[in-house]
């Protein structure tokens, strides 16, 4: 015979009933996980370059998934070390030119393996000069640059919440970070009424690492560490390696510069059929400039 309980009194467990285990509490981290907006595909260079444009300024998180630029960092599963090394901190990384998303994710994993959780901002720029964009451009678009805009937002959100943030940029990624820092500093001055000195104080919460960076000017405030290979023409002619020759450039007040001395034999090069430019870029990477071959690996030493 069944037992029926009526009225408003709460049900009383029968003496011989076993306590029912409560349902497991949902993991708050899982509840806030963002929906990815795409998955990295391994494509040949020509196709990858075109497909990449749709992901310009998006995040790459764990498992090769893309996340929309407005996604809060806390909602993105980070790329964790897969070599058993403990992750000390979160790094937000920006790639350089000629790096499709698949290669970017590989490089980000190498950075993670130096002992960090990594969320990557994808810079789909395939050169220093982009295509003449004109399809949907109107006056509201003036001044958009997806990878810079995402980096700027990440920085701004962290500083508004008084959080520290660690950014890393390889090659043109350093230029993007430099531009984003400048943009945040200018926002503090132009829109929040801070003086240049006070804006620099706010930026002391930012840590920046550049690797073979192609930027020469870094605004004062953040804690900078620059990694420069003396055989790498990019930082030596357009980046921190050339700042002594350019009176108006600066690696940032208090910057630490690590000078490497690495030249490797080229290996695992792509076939000539995938384009001469790609072959050249990968050869330079393997020998003196690549994040996986030179810079991120050296960071662990």
């Amino acid at each position: 015979m069944g037992i029926s309980i009526k009225g408003t009194r709460p049900p009383v467990p029968l003496p011989d009933s076993k306590p029912v285990a409560p349902a497991p509490a949902p993991n708050p981290a899982e509840l806030t996980r963002a929906q990815s907006v795409g998955q990295i595909e391994t494509l040949k260079w020509g196709k990858a370059k075109k497909a990449d444009r749709t992901h310009d300024g998006q995040f790459i998180g764990a498992d090769g998934k893309f996340y929309a630029p407005e996604t809060p960092l806390a909602d993105i599963p980070a790329i964790e070390p897969n070599n058993g090394k403990p992750a000390k901190e979160l790094i937000v990384e920006v790639n350089g030119i000629m790096t499709d998303a698949a290669l970017h994710a590989k490089n980000a994993q190498v950075l993670a393996n130096s002992g960090a959780r990594v969320i990557a901002i994808h810079n789909a720029t395939s050169g220093m000069l982009s295509d003449l964009g004109q399809c949907v451009l109107d006056k509201l678009d003036l001044g958009k640059n997806p990878a810079v805009d995402t980096t700027t937002r990440v920085l701004w959100d962290a500083l508004q919440n008084s959080q520290t943030i660690h950014l890393a940029g390889h090659s043109q990624g350093a230029l993007i970070i430099s531009r984003a820092l400048t943009d945040v500093k200018n926002r503090l001055m132009l829109e929040q009424g801070l003086s240049a000195a006070d804006a620099a104080k706010v930026l002391t919460k930012v840590k920046v690492e550049t690797f073979g960076g192609s930027a020469q000017t870094f605004t004062d405030g953040p804690q900078y560490v620059h990694w420069v290979n003396r055989w790498d023409l990019i930082p030596m002619t357009t980046g921190v390696g050339a700042t002594e020759r350019h009176p108006f450039s600066s690696p940032g007040a208090g910057a630490v510069v690590h000078v490497l001395d690495d030249v490797h034999k080229p290996h695992d090069l792509p076939p000539f059929a995938e384009g001469l430019v790609n072959l050249f870029a990968r050869t330079v990477d393997r020998m003196v400039h690549g994040p996986s071959d030179i810079y991120y690996t050296d960071r662990t030493e």
Binding site: L129, G133, C135, L137, L140, L175, M189, L190
Partner: protein, 123 residues
């Protein structure tokens, strides 16, 4: 300069750099030099191409006092987008080889303003 001449100038300059494209229906075309967005705008009133290199983009409408200060310093404000730019007008067609150094100077000036000029203005 006519719009057709302006289109031809932009097309020739783009072709030199392996880029395709001309002005769209809004009379605009854009390119990114390094990290600096550069916008070409056809001005029917001035019969000229306005090349604008971005210094800063306001997220909120700029305060009048700030606007007064930056405009007095020679910067250009595009209210629709909140873009603060360095602008140069080209009222006669130029060969790509002559346009190149002028655009490079424009971008370098915009970068100089973004990185150091505004610091000095708001020190």
């Amino acid at each position: 300069m006519t719009r057709a001449q302006a289109n031809a100038m932009l097309k020739a300059w783009g072709a030199k750099h392996g880029l395709a494209g001309t002005f769209n229906a809004n009379g605009l075309a854009s390119v990114t030099l390094g990290t600096t967005p550069l916008v070409f705008e056809w001005s029917e009133a001035k019969k000229a191409v306005l090349a604008r290199a971005l210094v800063y983009r306001f997220r909120q409408p700029a305060r009048p006092a700030v606007l007064e200060k930056v405009q007095a310093a020679g910067l250009d404000y595009v209210s629709e987008s909140g873009a603060l730019c360095v602008t140069k007008a080209f009222d006669a067609p130029l060969e790509p080889s002559l346009l190149d150094p002028q655009l490079e100077t424009l971008v370098a000036t915009a970068l100089g303003w973004a990185t150091q000029g505004l610091d000095r203005l708001f020190a």
